[in-house]
C-alpha cells in the first residue's frame, strides 16, 4: 500500500560535503518490501517548489517505524529539505516502486554492489539484507572526490569495500568499472545504482551475469499515472511497449529496458 503521510523528522546530519542523512518516522515503513524502493517527498508546503522529489530509501528500522534517506543538496527542493529540523513534519508519499530482488542471490553466493555518487544510498539496506541472509557482499563505490564520500566504514563493516574517486583524491582514481576489472572481482549477481553511463557500462560488461540496475528519470506523479518516466523495452526498442521507471522500476533486470 502507498501512503501519503506526514512523517516526523527524527534526525538529520550532514555526513559529507552537501550530503545529508535524514531519518523520519512513519507508518509507511511497514509497507516497504524491498531495498531500492523510494519515496516521493514534498520539500515544502505550498507551491515553492510544486512537485515532489524522488529519494531512495537507504535504510529502515522496522522496530521503530523509521526510514533513512541520504541525499545531495542540489537545488531548491533538496535545499529546503536540508533545513528541516528534528520534530518537523514532512509530507511523504511512499513506499514507491520495486526494489532489488533479494532472492536472485542465494545464500553462499557473492553479490557485487556497485554504486555511483548519490546512487550509493539504496545499496546500504540491500547489503544489510543480503548479508543477513548469508550472501557475501562486495561493494565498489564511486564518488566525485574525497569530501563527498559517505558510509564507507558502514559498508566496510558488511563486506569488502572498494572506493574510487573521479579525481583520485581517495582510493582508486577513475570509474568503478575500472576498479572491478582491475581487481578481477568474482561474483554471481550484480546490483547497481548510479549515473546512466555507469549502468550502461555494467550492463555491457556483465552480459553473462545476473545484473539488476536502478534507473533515474525526471518524474511527475511517481506512481505511474503521468507517463513522465517511461523507457522502451529491449524487445521492442522503437515500438510502443514501455516500462515506467516509477512504478515498474526503478530497478530493472539488465536487458529488460533500453537505458
Amino acid at each position: 500500500m502507498i501512503r501519503k503521510e506526514l512523517c516526523e523528522v527524527i534526525r538529520q546530519t550532514e555526513i559529507a560535503d552537501s550530503i545529508f542523512e535524514m531519518t523520519v518516522k512513519g507508518e509507511m515503513v511497514k509497507d516497504i518490501r524491498t531495498p531500492g524502493q523510494f519515496v516521493h517527498v514534498k520539500a515544502a508546503g505550498g507551491y515553492d517548489p510544486l512537485l515532489r522529489r524522488p529519494i531512495s530509501i537507504s535504510s529502515i528500522d522496522r522496530s521503530k517505524n523509521e526510514l533513512t534517506m541520504i541525499y545531495r543538496k542540489e537545488g531548491r527542493g533538496t535545499g529546503l529539505l536540508s533545513e528541516k529540523k528534528t520534530g518537523e513534519a514532512i509530507d511523504i508519499l511512499g513506499p514507491l516502486g520495486n526494489g532489488f530482488p533479494l532472492d536472485e542471490a542465494k545464500t553462499g553466493e557473492t553479490a557485487l554492489l556497485v554504486g555511483g555518487g548519490i546512487g550509493v544510498p539504496p545499496l546500504y539496506e540491500l547489503s544489510r539484507q543480503l548479508k543477513a541472509k548469508g550472501v557475501k557482499v562486495i561493494h565498489v563505490l564511486g564518488f566525485q572526490t574525497k569530501d563527498s564520500i559517505f558510509y564507507d566504514s558502514k559498508f566496510e563493516s558488511l563486506g569488502e569495500t572498494y572506493i574510487a574517486t573521479a579525481d583520485g583524491s581517495y582510493g582508486a582514481m577513475g570509474f568503478v568499472t575500472d576498479v572491478i576489472r582491475e581487481l578481477k572481482l568474482q561474483f554471481d549477481v550484480v546490483y547497481a545504482c548510479g549515473p546512466t553511463p555507469m549502468l550502461r557500462a555494467i550492463e555491457q560488461n556483465y552480459q553473462d551475469k545476473k545484473v539488476f540496475l536502478s534507473l533515474e528519470e525526471r518524474m511527475g506523479c511517481g506512481i505511474g499515472a503521468c507517463f513522465a518516466c517511461v523507457c522502451h523495452t529491449t524487445d521492442d526498442p522503437k515500438g510502443f511497449s514501455y516500462k515506467k521507471v516509477c512504478s515498474d522500476g526503478p530497478v530493472f533486470r539488465a536487458g529488460e529496458v533500453v537505458i
Partner: protein, 313 residues
Amino acid sequence: MNRLNINLPGLDLKNPIMPASGCFGFGREYSQFYNLDVLGAIMIKAATLEPRFGNPTPRVAETSAGMLNAIGLQNPGAHKILTEELPWLDQYDVPVIANIAGSQEDDYVETARIISQAANVHALELNISCPNVKTGGIAFGTIPDVAKQLTRKVKEVSAVPVYVKLSPNVSNIIEMAKSVEDGGADGLTMINTLIGMRLDLKTGKPILANSTGGLSGPAIKPVALRMIYEVSQKTKLPIIGMGGIQSAEDVVEFFYAGASAVAVGTANFVDPFVCPTIIEKLPSLLDKLGIEHISECTGRSWKRNEQPVNHRA
C-alpha cells in the same frame, strides 16, 4: 440535499470535480488511494487512433508554481482503450469523458467513432490543443475555421456530446470558442497548457527532450480564469474549467469566472487525494460564503447582481 450536483450535456455529475486528461491515466493508479466513485467524472488520457509511444525523456520539468510536460500523447490506441481500459473503469459509477486527439481530421473522426461507443463514455473531449505533438494538434487549436470544421466532423460520428478543449496559446480565445460553437460543440473545456520551456544551466540545452512543453499548475490559473471569464460571456456553451486548481477555493473562483464544472490536473501529482479532498471541503466553503448550491456561483463575476431573495416584494 445535494449542493454539488451539476447537469451538463451528456453529464449527470454528482459533483463538478473531475481529474483532467493526462493527469490521471485511466484511473488505475489513483484507485489505490480512494474509491473513484466519489468523483464527478473522469477525463481519461488522450486516445489516438494508433498507439503512440510519445516523446523521448526527460518529459517533465519544473517551473515556478508550475510544470512543463511533453509526454507526446503516449497511449495504447483507441481500440485497446475501448477493450481494456474503459471496461475496467466500468466497475465505477462515474461518467467518463474521453479525450481524443489526432494528427489529421480522419484520425480524430475515427477515434471519436470508436471511443464514443463505450457505455461509460458520456462525452468526448476533443483535444485540439495538445502542444506536444509534431503534426496537426496545434493548427487545429489556433485556426478558427479548422477547429470549426473538425468539431463538425467529430459531432457527425460521435454517439455522445462533444466538448472542445481550447488552447490558451491564441490571440483571440473568444473567436476560437465561437467557431467551435458554430461547429456544433456541446461544451468547452479550457484551458489546455501554455507552451513553455526551461533550459539546463549546465548544458545550456532545453531540459525537455522535446525542447518545449505544456505549462500547467498554479502558475497558469490567472490566464485560465481570464479566458473563461471572456468566453463564458460570449458563448452559450457550458465550460469545464481547469488550470492550476488545487483547492475548494480555486474551484469557486473558476465558477465565479464562468465555469460550470472543473478539472484538476497537475495537483494530482502533488497530492493524490486532491480531488476527494476538494469534494469534501466544498460544502463547508459554500456555507462560509453563504451559497446554497454551487451552480449559483457560475458567472457571478459578470452576471448582474440579482436581488437577494429576502429583498423581493
